[in-house]
């Protein structure tokens, strides 16, 4: 097995521009693919975050009594599609407000517990349950002043993610096709250059694998280097921009990215790069070694 690797590296060394060209094309393809996969991974986290947040919040009227609040809480908790119910009293609301506005003392002075309404936060088991929860809460209109829920936002986020996934697949697909075509051209040139050598090898009893192996390994190497380089660049870029991303997403926990995600990405990338190499070599050899 050492010979095909040795020959592949020798050929790459002897034709550096072709090698760099192939690796760069594959680098761009895999860079876009890895970047899209991180983007989609992030969007999934954002959607999941919003889906599992207290999605329906109902603000009580100022004159609502504690017993009424407790009754609504118990009522909602009994619903099969409700995951969690939390009541925030006026005092708790004030303490939350203070927490969020601690850098603005003037705002703190103006607000007291009396002006902040108590509220109830109801989490659904899934996004479809939000509408039921809203309808349930609307029945308590004598106690509830306003109902807010984020279904439309989650919906539009899911729509965007779907669109992003389709665009990603399309872009990466086109770039993968371009990479295959470029590799077919490069490998074809190399096969054509070695046409006489291949003919002689055949006459000397070389098997197809003996002849094809160095080309297959070479194409896999292009894919491997392109993929590794792209993965390294994307991961470094991600690490470098971590503070900015954390700041942008605020309390949504997009970090840390689990190591399994990196490992899976790398494994899939290396697998696909090998597959691209095999496909391009097969096409090139099919054309030139009939």
């Amino acid at each position: 097995m050492a010979r095909p690797f040795k020959e592949a590296f020798t050929t790459m060394r002897r034709t550096p521009y072709q090698a760099v060209g192939a690796i760069l094309v594959l680098f761009i393809t895999f860079f876009v693919a890895y970047a899209f996969s991180f983007l989609l991974y992030g969007s999934e986290i954002v959607i999941r975050y919003f889906e599992t947040r207290p999605q329906v919040t109902a603000f009580f009227k100022q004159d609502t009594k504690d017993q009424q609040v407790q009754a609504i809480q118990e009522d909602m908790q009994a619903k099969p599609y409700v995951a969690k119910v939390k009541v925030i009293t006026k005092t708790e609301a004030l303490s939350l407000y203070k927490q969020e506005s601690k850098q603005d003392p003037l705002m703190l002075e103006l607000v007291t517990a009396d002006i902040l309404p108590a509220s109830i936060e109801v989490s659904g088991k899934d996004i479809q349950s939000l509408e039921h929860i809203e309808q349930d809460l609307q029945q308590y209109s004598e106690s509830i002043d306003e109902i807010v829920y984020q279904k439309s936002m989650v919906d539009s986020l899911a729509r965007w993610t779907r669109a992003l996934r389709m665009i990603g697949i399309g872009v990466v697909g086109i770039m993968a096709l371009t990479s295959v075509v470029v590799m077919v051209i490069i490998i074809s040139m190399k096969v054509a250059m070695k046409k006489n050598e291949i003919a002689i090898m055949r006459l000397l009893g070389a098997t197809s694998w003996y002849i094809h192996a160095p080309f297959v390994i070479e194409a896999i190497m292009y894919g491997f280097f392109g993929s590794m380089l792209a993965w390294g660049t994307v991961v470094l870029g991600l690490l470098y921009s971590t503070p900015w991303i954390i700041d942008f997403f605020g309390e949504i926990p997009v970090f840390p990215v689990p190591w399994q995600m990196y490992a899976l990405q790398l494994a899939v990338g290396v697998g696909i790069s090998a597959l691209l190499g095999v496909i391009s070599t097969s096409l090139a050899l099919k054309r030139f070694t009939k």
Partner: protein, 252 residues
């Protein structure tokens, strides 16, 4: 060992390269295929190495009909039937040593085996001192000797030399002829396609003459009625020749 039975080869252009050709080559024989260009000598080689298939008839090697040979088995056939080409077909970017080593690499021999075999073959063809030279640095005769050494590398059962002296001067041609004879003496079946009658006359071996794709003379068949007597005479002559060739081989 090699049997051609009523073999015809017609190309898509309509040209008939071989027309109902039948002959047999026994193990350990030395056979000359003699004929002008286009007589069908190279076609016989290409049929024997299964570069092409006959239009009609049967080509068999070691009792196996080559038409039934699977594609993946062809490389192994070519390790049994090595070819020496008129234009040497050496790889220009590899040294003499690397060219001879190539079939051994293909056959998956170990480094030690390859080194030993290459050294032996370089000694056999008398090119030990040129093992690091590239083909372009060799004379025609030397390049052909490298080609012969390469053909012998994995110990084939048959060496088919296709016009090995076609590009060589008289002296180099005789040296190549003698070298092939020496290889034959060492136990390899040799078929030499040539139109160089000097070499044919010098070696006095079985001759199959081809003309426009047909066998017009086969000295083995012709000898048949008086086979024993002629064979004895031949053997005595051969012994004298062998002595001369042995001396010549040493010189090479």
């Amino acid at each position: 060992m090699i049997v051609f039975t009523n073999v015809t080869k017609q190309f898509p252009t309509g040209q008939v390269a071989l027309d109902d050709v039948s002959f047999e080559v026994e193990p350990g024989e030395f056979v000359f295929l003699v004929g002008e260009s286009g007589a069908g000598k190279t076609t016989i080689m290409r049929l024997l190495t299964k570069e092409m298939s006959p239009t009609q008839g049967v080509v068999s090697f070691l009792q196996k009909n080559l038409a039934e040979l699977k594609k993946h088995a062809i490389p192994y056939l070519r390790r049994e039937v090595s070819v020496v080409f008129q234009d040497y077909k050496l790889l220009p970017d590899r040294t003499v040593e690397e060219n001879i080593r190539l079939p051994l690499e293909i056959a998956g021999k170990t480094a030690a085996e390859m080194k030993q075999r290459v050294d032996d073959l370089l000694d056999l063809v008398g090119l030990a001192e040129k093992k690091l030279h590239f083909p372009v640095q060799l004379s025609g005769g030397e390049a052909q000797r490298v080609s012969i050494a390469r053909a012998l590398a994995i110990g084939p059962k048959v060496v088919f030399a296709d016009e090995p002296t076609g590009n060589l001067d008289h002296e180099s041609s005789l040296i190549i002829g003698k070298l092939l004879h020496k290889i034959h003496e060492l136990g390899t079946t040799v078929i030499m396609a040539t139109h160089n009658m000097d070499v044919v006359r010098a070696l006095k071996k079985r001759e199959i003459h081809l003309h426009k794709g047909k066998i017009v003379k086969d000295t083995k068949k012709k000898e048949h009625p008086h086979h024993k007597e002629e064979k004895v005479e031949h053997t005595q002559t051969d012994k004298k020749e062998e002595k001369k060739e042995e001396d010549h081989g040493k010189a090479i």
